[in-house]
């Protein structure tokens, strides 16, 4: 038994199943982070004294991380585009870069976190830090998830390229959509937490 429209497009919708699936998933993610941002607004407006982000957090490091994540989105698109142009070797290179850039982001985040802990700044210290750790922590879990998927398509998952290249290309595209979303969340988190 075969499930129709896993690769080919359904004529009246013009989409395959995976594309709809990933967009629906992103819609639910928007609601998840949206609820957290809404909570941020409510807690901040209810607070008599809210610190400016740059007095507590390290803006240069976060700026560097923003550039890293945006670059990883570019390499992600290049990975997909390489598959579209039938260049598997180039795909591998770009895909590896995406994963590595994700790794750089995590390492920087690790230094940021440990620096906070060394100075006695914990989630329990204040609601600003509680929101900082919860939002960036949840975002970091998404980065790790995206890296796991991208590593899979770089490694064992790439076997599909030999048997069904179209399907594989679609899968990389869908993983890319998720990766761009994770990137986009950071682009909202950075000004909200560090600059405002």
């Amino acid at each position: 038994m075969e499930i129709p429209y896993t690769v080919e497009l359904r004529r009246d919708t013009g989409l395959n199943n995976g594309k709809i699936g990933i967009w629906l998933f992103l819609a639910s993610e928007v609601m998840l982070f949206g609820a957290l941002f809404a909570s941020y607004i409510l807690i901040r407006t209810g607070s008599p004294n809210w610190p400016r982000g740059d007095t507590i957090l390290n803006v240069p490091l976060a700026t560097f991380n923003t550039i890293v994540l945006i670059s990883s989105s570019v390499t992600m698109v290049m990975a997909w585009a390489s598959l579209k142009r039938n260049r598997f070797g180039t795909f591998r290179m770009y895909q590896a870069s995406t994963v590595l850039l994700g790794g750089v982001f995590l390492v920087v985040k690790y230094f940021e976190y440990s620096h906070k802990f060394e100075n006695g700044l914990f989630p329990s210290t204040s609601n600003f830090l509680a929101l900082y750790f919860t939002l960036t922590g949840l975002h970091m879990l998404h980065v790790i998830g995206g890296m796991a998927v991208n590593t899979y398509f770089w490694g064992p998952g790439a076997k599909l390229w030999k048997t069904n290249p179209d399907w594989f290309t679609n899968r990389v595209e869908h993983a890319g959509l998720f990766w761009h979303f994770v990137d986009l969340v950071w682009i909202f988190l950075f000004p909200t937490l560090y600059l405002l």
């Binding site: 499930i3 129709p4 429209y5 699936g21 629906l24 609820a35 607070s47 914990f122 329990s124």
Partner: protein
Amino acid sequence: MSQTTGTVAAPGAHVSHEAHHDEMGFWRKYVFSTDHKVIGIQYSVTGLLFLLFGFSLMMLMRFQLAYPGSALPLLGKLLGDTRMPGGIMVPEFYNELGAMHGTIMVFMGVVPLAVGGFGNFVVPLQIGAPDMAFPRLNMLSYWSFFLGGVTMLASFFVPGGAAQSGWTSYAPLSDIAGTGQTWWLVGMIFLITSSLLGAINFITTVIQLRAKGLSFMRFPFFVWTQFVTAFLLLLAFPPLEAAGIMQLMDRVAGTSFFLPSGLVVSGQVVTNAGGGNPLLWQHLFWFLAHPEVYVLILPAMGIVAEIIANNTRKPLWGYKPMVGSLIFLGFMSFIVWAHHMFMTGMGTAMAAFFQTTTMIISIPSVVILTALIISLWGGSIRFNTPMLFALGFLPMFGIGGLTGLPLGLNVADIPLHDTYYVIAHFHYVVAPGTIFGLFAGIYYWYPKATGRKMNETLGKIHFFGSLVCMNVIFMPMFLMGLAGVSRRLFDGGASYAFAQPVLHWNVVSSWGAWTMALFQLPFIFNFFWSIRHGAKVGDNPWDATTIEWAAPSPPPHGNFVTAPQAYRGPYEYSVPGAAKGFQPQFEA
């Protein structure tokens, strides 16, 4: 659990209509199956077991309410000295039972049965699909639900017992409660994940895998209800997940999202940083839980619509307005949540907004219910068991819905909100409403799942017994609520002088609940007995028109022998001038 599931699914295995079926072992076929029908049955059986378990918790509570402070004979001793010393219930255990009854019934009973069970089993068949769009994701969503269920059950055995802060887990009480609450949160995260994965799967399946010719306005109403329900789950659950993560942080990492400054617990000022907002939890919780009310009711409405059209032998009256109302209702359900929070003193501007949206949302519900009632008009009705349950649904849901109107108005809600009136109102919606709809669905689609009908006599005993008992249980609660009895009292109001004239209704209500348990026995017996001994049926035992009846009973892996096609709308019954009394969608 898996054993039971295997038994139910077994008959399907013996009849293999498919030429190219692959050889799978027992585990792949019945336990870690990716077949939507097996997963649907797994969800249904697990959901039914949780409903029974949640009902048992309630029967224990009903003893305490009817006979506060008395020792429960026999069973009381078995539950141990921490819960019932000498057979007498301690208040903490009562709170555990209350919180877990709500959680289990809503998140582990009704939703898994209505959406996971019926949605999985029926929707792909009704749209003529071979399976769900993402079969492995489907399996994952069942097992995530299963893990969530196990976590919730295990929480009864942690020190201090299961969650005690109500199914709503209001902060700050839930923030400072015992370990059981942490387990509750972890369990909820599993259940939410399961629902999200399921919702993605349902929407994709309905959009992509519908049969040739099956345009949206040819969908059976049940498919529409599942489609809208999936959107509600997809978009309303994540905010509760966010709230759950924040409460978990409060409990584990010592943050203060929901803890205000200067909170005093048992005479001690809490040392947290403070500055949090307990109402934030309520907002996020009800942002999920109001759409959740529609998640509970819509699938049941869909089932009832199918059965009414089939047994009146008439098209549904007002199919298009029903679909329109359904979609409108789905949108509106996202902007009514704070009508659960009039007691928080939210101010007149907010209250005015939310009571207005609440009055507006009652319109589409009334349209759907009215259309279903008018559909009966002039029909030559077949009174079989599914139809009896569907007919029972109409007035019961009607009572539940209409008694909700005073609660939607700020001024009327304030004196009623914390009383038994609210319990009676929403139980009329969910218990004799939704659960009757679900029973109707079980009797209706059982022949498709097993190839045999359930026994009609036992079904009728089940229906009439349950109908009477449901009203004996819940009608007195309206009286007690209007007399002002609070709904959260461990002694059922015995310590309040003003409650004395209505206290005897507690005894009536409790005996109603225990009697209702007896009337479920014919159903349980019927459910298992009919797998092997029910009357054998063909593909279309009810002379129905929708596409699921084109598949063999039970359908093989892959569902249809030849890919079905839809030639007309879903309810072409008694068409004037037609050769047959009904014209199936799938026949040219």
